[in-house]
């Protein structure tokens, strides 16, 4: 009985130290996921519904495919962070005599390289000449980027390089989908085109556009917004999915959009480190900040937490010609094949936690370190890259430390 009695304090101690025995909550600046501050309980409720739908894995019974790239949003945007070469998708088309053809009749512009059991996956048609691989970007802080009025982008743009700094910056004019509802600040040109801002080529006008496309092109999921399945023309020129359409109600798609809008912006680390401060200064000095614009401000928004907020994404949401090395001969909207939208650099330091311990940067993940990504900058960023190369090793490291702190 004595041994038994000694156990009582033991169990007692272990219960008291319960909290110690449970895994700790990671600091807010160590993880990308989580809602932004200032949401109401109802807004948090919708956020959670969207979070769940974002993580939902589709199966053939729930409409997956029949051709697809991955089975859930979260499977590609792991922990709301970047993706991996395994989840990298392929877009293609044919570029002849300055004309780009998305080869829609052959299953373009996106390859669905996987298929549910019993079905055939797509392969690249021989007609495809422009082939680009897109590594999934992080999806944090997008609500803020979505709430920046078009006039801000137009003010940052300098398509004819009037200020002669070698950096132009253009907006991508695209034809929005029929379900797009412009807000007061959306700008359209004479041809009725709107300014795109999401995706590597800034070809999606808003988060709903991006999400509906992701459901369809990445997972083969139809929704109230788009009833067309992706088609494998090598099998038949019409859809062959066994599940009735729409496979997803508008409400679910909208909750995912709400989730994306209200995901918190990445929280920086090591802000008081002198080397980080030095790096930030150098980053601005060598013109990185001309494209990776540090600060933006949202307009008035329906969600209070997004309304008139200053934030630090390190992007201008504009297209830049990045030179021949990054030209895949593929494009979307009015973007050139060598043009890419400046990716936000916030959250960069947490990339490895979503990319399986290594990092894969630039649009196709070809850069295996921050330094390599910078050295691959060309075109409009050539001066800036040269300036980076001329810095001392210590100074370059300071820039990298600064980028890792974001």
């Amino acid at each position: 009985m004595k041994k038994w009695l000694t156990l009582i304090p033991l169990v007692g101690i272990s219960l008291l130290s319960c909290e110690k025995l449970l895994p700790p909550t990671p600091a807010d600046n160590e993880v990308l996921d989580g809602p932004m501050d200032g949401l109401s309980p109802t807004q948090l409720q919708i956020f959670l519904e969207g979070d769940e739908a974002f993580a939902d894995i589709f199966s053939p019974q729930t409409g997956l495919g029949p051709i697809f790239v991955a089975t859930s949003c979260a499977g590609c945007h792991v922990g709301d962070g970047k993706g991996h070469p395994f989840t990298t998708l392929t877009r293609f088309g044919n570029y002849t005599n300055g004309q780009f053809d998305h080869l829609l009749h052959l299953g373009g512009g996106q390859l669905q390289n996987r298929a549910i059991p019993g079905y055939t996956a797509e392969t690249l048609p021989p007609e495809a000449t422009g082939i680009s691989r897109f590594t999934p970007p992080a999806v944090t802080g997008l609500g803020l980027l979505a709430a920046v009025p078009d006039e801000t982008l137009l003010a940052l743009a300098d398509p004819d390089d009037v200020n002669e700094d070698g950096i132009s910056g253009r907006v991508n004019y695209i034809h929005p989908p029929s379900f797009f509802i412009p807000s007061g600040w959306h700008y359209s040109d004479a041809q009725g085109r709107y300014i795109g801002r999401f995706g590597k080529k800034a070809a999606a006008v808003d988060l709903l556009h991006q999400t509906v496309n992701a459901y369809k092109q990445d997972m083969g999921i139809t929704s109230d917004f788009d009833l067309q399945e992706p088609i494998n023309y090598a099998v038949a020129s019409h859809p062959t999915d066994p599940v009735a359409d729409p496979e997803l109600p508008a409400a679910t798609v909208q909750s995912v959009v709400f989730y994306l809008r209200t995901l918190k912006a990445p929280v920086p680390r090591s802000q008081h480190d002198p080397q980080v401060a030095q790096g930030r200064q150098l980053f601005m000095d060598i013109q990185c900040g001309k494209c990776h614009v540090p600060t933006m401000k949202t307009g008035v928004s329906d969600i209070k937490a997004l309304s008139e907020i200053e934030f630090h994404p390190y992007t201008d949401l504009l297209l830049h010609d990045m030179g021949a090395a990054l030209d895949d001969g593929y494009t979307e909207g009015s973007a050139g094949t060598a043009e890419w939208r400046t990716p936000p650099l916030w959250g960069l330091g947490l990339s490895a936690n979503a990319q399986g311990g290594s990092i894969f940067l630039l649009h196709d993940g070809r850069a295996r370190s921050i330094e390599e990504a910078v050295l691959l900058h060309g075109g409009e960023a050539e001066n800036s890259r040269n300036a980076f190369q001329q810095l001392s090793v210590q100074e370059r490291n300071a820039i990298i430390q600064f980028l890792e702190s974001l």
Binding site: S59, A115, G357
Partner: protein
């Protein structure tokens, strides 16, 4: 036929049937009572029994600092029916209610017909002899609240299937050898067509398997074991067959794809300590178009050690036993390298579970478990950590 002649026909038929019943007692309308278990019961020859077990517990878990709080769980409530009509004809059935009535399953309904102890036929819904746990999973027998993950997520316990086969025991000095082998309808397409984004055998347990095979080619399961009295038992088992619907209406609609499971189990006493565990290796043919998220090779183990630390009277109960228990589990759901990078595919987990059990009788116990689990995702990102406390009780009745 005119209605009158139909009536005449039925009357004659019913009379004929009536004449064929073994007992002349009743008309056909009483056939439900004209059953041997009733006659034998009336004669006092019948052994029939109803039993079962119940298991309930509390959970308090936290994943990377986020907890859903404290909750109570009515894990399962199982009822057994047993009957022997003649000494060597045994029937047993088990009905399981998981989480109240959330999931109701017929886990067993089988008939054993013994010719000799070395040769018996078994038919019905059988517990597939794959590893040790699947056939021996009653909660009151286990010191841990959660079932071993290798046994429930690789070996899809509780895996019951319609089967027909043989089993027997062959004694040899202090050893005894046992074998079991059955033809089964087998697992189905859900192995790949599931919402787990991985090869997942439990999702292959389609209810339809109790009605008919999805591809008309049965699977085979077998286990051989050696037991030494006073020491323990080791078993080797395997299960394999085609799992996908490759044929429909006589047309070949897909390639044939096989799943194969090999399991090893042990259960020993060393002095006062008891050690048990099982390991499984799963090989699944996966269409390459589905992609590498679905593993072709999976393995897992669990190893339990149970050590009695106190024995005595407590609250008027005699011979109460306090055990310390420790479990280790490791599973890799996807062994291989990414084609794109050559790096290892993740999708693996580890758990440790220290705990105590207080056995008031061999059939009734209280359990306290602390559980720590590391889940690594497909890409091999830093593990998600989950830990928590569980308190539970389980008893036969």
């Amino acid at each position: 036929m005119k209605p009158i002649s139909i009536l005449l026909f039925w009357t004659i038929l019913i009379q004929c049937l009536g004449a064929q019943t073994p007992d002349s007692l009743g008309a056909n309308k009483d056939a439900v009572y004209q059953r041997p278990f009733i006659f034998e019961g009336q004669k006092g020859n019948l052994t029939a029994a109803v039993g079962g077990y119940l298991e309930a517990n509390t959970n308090y878990f936290s994943t990377d600092g986020v907890s859903e709080g404290f909750s109570m769980e009515m894990r399962r409530f199982n009822i057994f029916f047993y009957s022997t009509l003649k000494e060597r004809i045994k029937f047993i059935a088990e009905l399981e209610f998981e989480h109240g009535t959330e999931e109701i399953a017929l886990e067993t309904a089988m008939l054993d017909f013994e010719l000799t102890p070395a040769l018996a036929f078994r038919a019905g819904i059988v517990l597939v002899p794959l590893g040790y746990f699947n056939q021996n999973h009653d909660s009151p027998k286990w010191e841990f609240i959660d079932r071993p993950l290798v046994s429930t997520t690789l070996i899809p316990a509780t895996y019951a299937d319609v089967g027909f086969g043989l089993h027997g025991t062959i004694p040899l000095n202090s050893l005894s050898f046992t074998y079991e082998t059955y033809l089964l309808n087998g697992l189905q397409d859900g192995i790949l067509a599931n919402t787990s984004n991985r090869t997942f055998l439990p999702a292959g347990k389609n209810e339809e398997r109790f009605g008919e095979d999805n591809n008309g080619s049965p699977s085979l399961a077998a286990r051989i074991a050696m037991k030494k009295r006073g020491l323990g038992e080791i078993g080797f088992s395997s299960f394999g067959g085609y799992y996908n619907t490759f044929k429909k209406d006589g047309l070949r609609v897909d390639e044939k794809r096989k799943v194969f499971v090999f399991a090893f189990d042990y259960n020993f006493s060393f002095g006062k300590a008891k050690m048990l565990g099982e390991a499984a290796l799963v090989k699944t043919e996966v269409p390459s178009a589905l992609g590498q998220a679905f593993g072709q090779t999976q393995w897992g183990i669990h190893a339990d050690v149970i050590y009695p630390i106190w024995n005595g009277g407590l609250f008027g109960w005699e011979n109460v036993r306090l055990n310390a228990a420790f479990r280790f589990e490791a599973i890799d759901y996807n062994v291989g390298q990414f084609d794109e990078t050559g790096g290892n595919i993740g999708d693996h987990l580890l758990t440790i579970v220290p705990g105590f059990s207080l056995r008031f009788s061999p059939n009734t116990l209280l359990k306290v478990n602390y559980r720590y689990r590391w889940d690594t995702d497909l890409l091999g990102n830093p593990a998600v950590k989950t830990a928590g406390f569980q308190f539970g009780m389980a008893s036969y009745f």
